[in-house]
């Protein structure tokens, strides 16, 4: 079967998500369907269809999309995360009319992330990043949030607009210097161009990706968004764009640097410098935070930087497996931690460490799971987070001849040790601090955790604990294919 030309321009998995998005928006017009909260389940159906398409026929969308290992892994992870988010949305107790908006924004976010992760052409790359950005703004600000959510959304949209416009201007310059928007042609064109002429353009173009990974100095929006946005929105906005941006970074590097050889020393040193700065900055700043979600925001900055460190290492083929595993471990633990926090928080400033004090007594199982996820983020063996960090470190120490990578690897170790203290602050607040909240009898016996939410938590916990057993299998799986 051949699709008409405009449809064939999009790979099959993303096309399935498009159809699902349309179905959700149409169902939102029928009051009976809205009342039954069908939107998340429609999204899950589209997600399953997209998963089948990805496994059977990923498609290269008229040559603008790559079919390669990192794209396959990242899109698979994006679909898995979308399924988790939709399940959590189905378990959410918000009014029925908000569920459709939430599900539509989530599917649009995953669609943009998938396009970004698969793009091998500058135009779909930028369009995917824009779709990710626009749906993130909607998730942050329109989820029935309060004044703080609106403020977070405003900062997000203004920061994001500047980063996106700067990236576009850089891409325009690359187009002028190389005569094409296709990654392969840009790569060959760059080899002929003078470094001084294209370096500013490359820096501007990289800013858009660095913004999505929340690397210093483009991290400014992350803590405010984490703190102000509704918790489920944070879980989506902190994972899907990072996966997409990491895949885009790896692919862009592959076209500038041939996959089989080491990156040029200057490029690797630049990436390592950015990674080390972000890692150290994030770990130190997290120590002085008084809000659990802000600690997770700085944790996210550090994890994004670790991905950049892995991308700076050679050879690229091994880096792909390490990055995919790292992202899998990080997103599972981060999603789980944020869903747990959403269940433990109460009141308008509920994510402050002081407000969380003793909340573990109300929901001991949720608190125990939160500690598990936080331990994985901190890198406690034998959880998935530890194995992810181990894989990145092994890459960085593999080439002892590159002093910049070596220094960044030591910065990574130091930052992990420092950040562990900030994670302990969360554990201490939830488990050991005295209960300072109101002693309302209704508060003492909270509502049971909704079934879909419990499933999300169990899946995240299974990934966090069980990935270590499957590490060899995963590495072999990641190495298959081009």
């Amino acid at each position: 079967m051949t699709l008409p030309a405009p449809l064939a321009a999009l790979p099959a998995p993303e096309l399935a998500l498009c159809v699902g998005l349309g179905a959700i928006l149409l169902a939102d017009l029928v009051p009976a369907l809205v009342a039954r909260r069908v939107a998340p389940w429609l999204g899950l159906a589209a997600c399953a269809a997209a998963g089948v398409c990805l496994a059977v026929a990923p498609g290269d969308g008229a040559g603008m999309f790559a079919v390669d290992a990192i794209g396959r892994l990242a899109r698979g992870l994006i679909l898995a995360l979308l399924a988790l988010q939709l399940l959590a949305a189905a378990g959410d107790r918000r009014p029925a009319r908000d569920v459709g908006v939430l599900a539509a924004a989530l599917v649009a976010l995953a669609l943009g992330a998938g396009v970004t992760a698969a793009a091998s052409h500058a135009l779909p790359l930028w369009l995917g990043l824009e779709l990710v950005a626009l749906s993130s703004y909607a998730l942050v600000a329109c989820g029935g949030g309060d004044r703080r959510a609106a403020e977070a959304g405003m900062k997000f949209v203004l920061f994001g607009g500047v980063a996106s416009a700067a990236m576009l201007f850089g891409l325009g310059h690359l187009y002028g210097a190389t005569g094409s928007l296709d990654f392969a042609s840009i790569g060959s064109g760059l080899a002929a161009a003078s470094a001084a002429a294209v370096a500013p353009a490359l820096l501007l173009a990289a800013a858009g990706i660095a913004y999505k990974l929340a690397l210093v100095p483009l991290h400014g929006y992350a803590p405010d968004v984490y703190q102000g946005a509704p918790p489920l929105a944070v879980a989506a906005v902190s994972t899907l764009p990072k996966v997409a941006a990491a895949a885009a970074l790896v692919r862009a590097l592959q076209f500038v640097v041939p996959p089989a050889v080491a990156a040029p020393a200057a490029l690797a040193a630049g990436l390592a410098l950015v990674a080390a700065t972000s890692l150290l900055f994030a770990s130190f700043t997290a120590l002085v935070q008084r809000c659990a979600r802000r600690i997770l925001a700085f944790s996210g900055i550090g994890h994004g930087a670790a991905v950049v460190l892995a991308a700076a290492c050679a050879p690229q083929r091994a880096a792909v497996a390490a990055i995919a595993f790292y992202l899998l471990a990080y997103t599972a633990a981060n999603t789980g931690a944020l869903v747990c926090l959403a269940l433990l928080e109460r009141g308008p400033r509920g994510s402050d460490l002081a407000a969380l004090a003793g909340s573990g007594r109300r929901r001991p199982w949720v608190a125990a799971l939160l500690c598990l996820f936080v331990a994985s983020l901190a890198g406690v063996p034998p959880l998935a987070g530890f194995l992810g960090k181990w894989g990145v470190l092994r890459l960085a120490f593999a080439d002892l001849g590159a002093p910049a990578l070596l220094a960044a690897a030591f910065a990574f170790v130091a930052a992990t040790a420092i950040a562990a203290w900030s994670y302990l602050l969360i554990v201490r607040a939830v488990l050991f601090a005295g209960d300072s909240g109101p002693t309302d009898p209704r508060e003492a016996a909270p509502l049971p955790v909704p079934l879909p939410t419990a499933v999300v938590l169990l899946l995240c916990a299974a990934a966090t604990c069980g990935l270590g057993l499957w590490l060899d299998g995963f590495t072999a799986f990641a190495a298959v294919g081009p």
Binding site: D146, E151, L158, G161, A166, G172, G179
Partner: protein, 108 residues
Amino acid sequence: MPEFGPDAPTGYLLVAALLFATGVFAAISRRNAIGVLIGIELMLNAAALQFAAYGRFAKSAADPQGQTAAVFVIVVAAAEAAVALALLFAVYRRTRDIDLEQNRELRS
């Protein structure tokens, strides 16, 4: 081909660079969110103009990719402006102010 004038890329690229610089300056210096938004729009339009100019004056023959990119930029800029304005309305309804210095409730 003349060095400068309607048939050379230099003038268009200069205007684009000037627009971009103006946009960056507006985005980082304005305290009012609408001012920042105008800066972002200027930056996006600078990029669109640059794409169109590079496409028209491509090395071999005029290249349609640049014009296509410019059209995409215009569409996305409109979508971005719509979402950003909706957000600013939401902030204004709650706080009666869209000054970035006044909306600073989120901090460590």
